[in-house]
Symmetry: C2
Subunit: 210 residues, 2 copies
DNA sequence: AACTGTGAAGTTTTTCACAGCC
DNA sequence: GGCTGTGAAAAACTTCACAGTT
């Protein structure tokens, strides 16, 4: 769960910023230079008023009568979200899922680089995957501390997710993206987000007829 | 976006049911038979009052003084979410991501089976991945119609996601899980959910110091 | 004419707190 | 004593609607 700072911008607003950035960079790729809260809203299925209100938390990024300068807004959002730099991410788990994450091309141009990968399976240690060498779990703490890594992803079986999380927290990681289908407990100062496709599918089957 | 039926249970409540089910089945695996809203809340980082209120939308599942019978509640939630049956899911895209999805063991015991996989790349068509044979995109419409598939996942590059979505909608799919990092537009009667790890990472980097 | 930024109003969601039951 | 289920209160969030700017 994200930290909740008092007197601050609602977390739900922060959660939409990456969606705005994603849509804006796509418009940019299409060669567009200006957009409006209405156009963005249509693309995202969000009301234009909400977009304007969200963005206004960070300053007046738009121009009345004209809209938003895309490149300018992209830069502002990147700065706000601190993705105008490259974050080095530690990955734990080099199985099917971990390998897929390592091969995924979508991190690089959006602020993230997987810099280390760990696994406990001796058969996997030393293997080269996606340009990285799989390190033993025993090296996790030292590697993370030495490099002051702040971000990690967990891609191990559910049974091991909590103990991996404990190691990561102990090593100083501040934010965890957990692909294991289980809730993990961490201290208040550590954030956790989850990716579980089944949760999304089950959410939708509720509404299906038949 | 999920359908919004008037006079009905809030969608935000529906979205939490899969999390409850996930935590409950884990407790079950640990051999537990009874739990309480407090225990569940602690595990999920949700208040106990919210859990009680959410569950009460579907009937009185608990016993005062005792708590909730885990097996009973699991069955009730499965029925409510309609995952007490196996849903057959179509997957579009057999690249890195598609392959990883096909190899993922986590769908089977939670109500889903990937039953078909499609790709447009002639080099991939006919290949056997995770027990399935990759079919050409040209067969998508007919296969989905014949089998009345209601669910699909998109795991193709962002540029192709919208056209794939159009094909799926045209073929009668009612719910789409989109792994491509782009918003897609579909008619109101079709639901879409998104999985984009970068969105979660960017959400968290906002809060990171340094 | 088109669009933003924003108080005010409206709606939704969460929490409180307690009666009732085991 | 411990726990659920639930109205009522509180908080959070979204939409409205319009003044102000280009």
């Amino acid at each position: 769960m994200p930290l909740k700072q008092t007197n601050s911008i609602p977390d739900i607003v922060i959660g939409r910023l990456p969606l705005y950035l994603r849509a804006l960079t796509r418009l940019q790729q299409e060669g567009r230079e200006v957009t409006s809260s209405h156009e963005l809203g249509r693309k995202l299925g969000i009301s234009s008023a909400q977009i304007r209100k969200d963005l206004s938390h960070f300053g007046g990024f738009g121009k009345q009568g004209t809209g938003y300068q895309i490149e300018y807004l992209v830069n502002k959002l990147r700065t706000v979200m601190q993705v105008n730099q490259e974050w080095h991410v530690a990955l734990v788990g080099a199985g099917n899922l971990g390998s897929a994450i390592l091969h995924y091309r979508g991190f690089a141009d959006r602020g993230f680089r997987i810099a280390w990968v760990f696994d406990s399976d001796p058969a996997k240690i030393g293997a080269h995957i996606g340009g990285l060498t799989v390190q033993p779990l025993e090296e996790l703490a030292q590697t993370i501390k030495e490099n002051q890594a702040k971000l990690a992803m967990i891609a191990v079986p559910a049974e091991h997710a909590q103990s991996v999380a404990n190691m990561l927290v102990e090593a100083g990681v501040q934010a965890i993206l957990n692909y294991a289908p289980i809730n993990i407990n961490v201290p208040d100062h550590v954030m956790v987000q989850y990716i579980d496709p089944v949760v999304h599918l089950q959410h939708m089957t509720f509404y299906l007829k038949d």
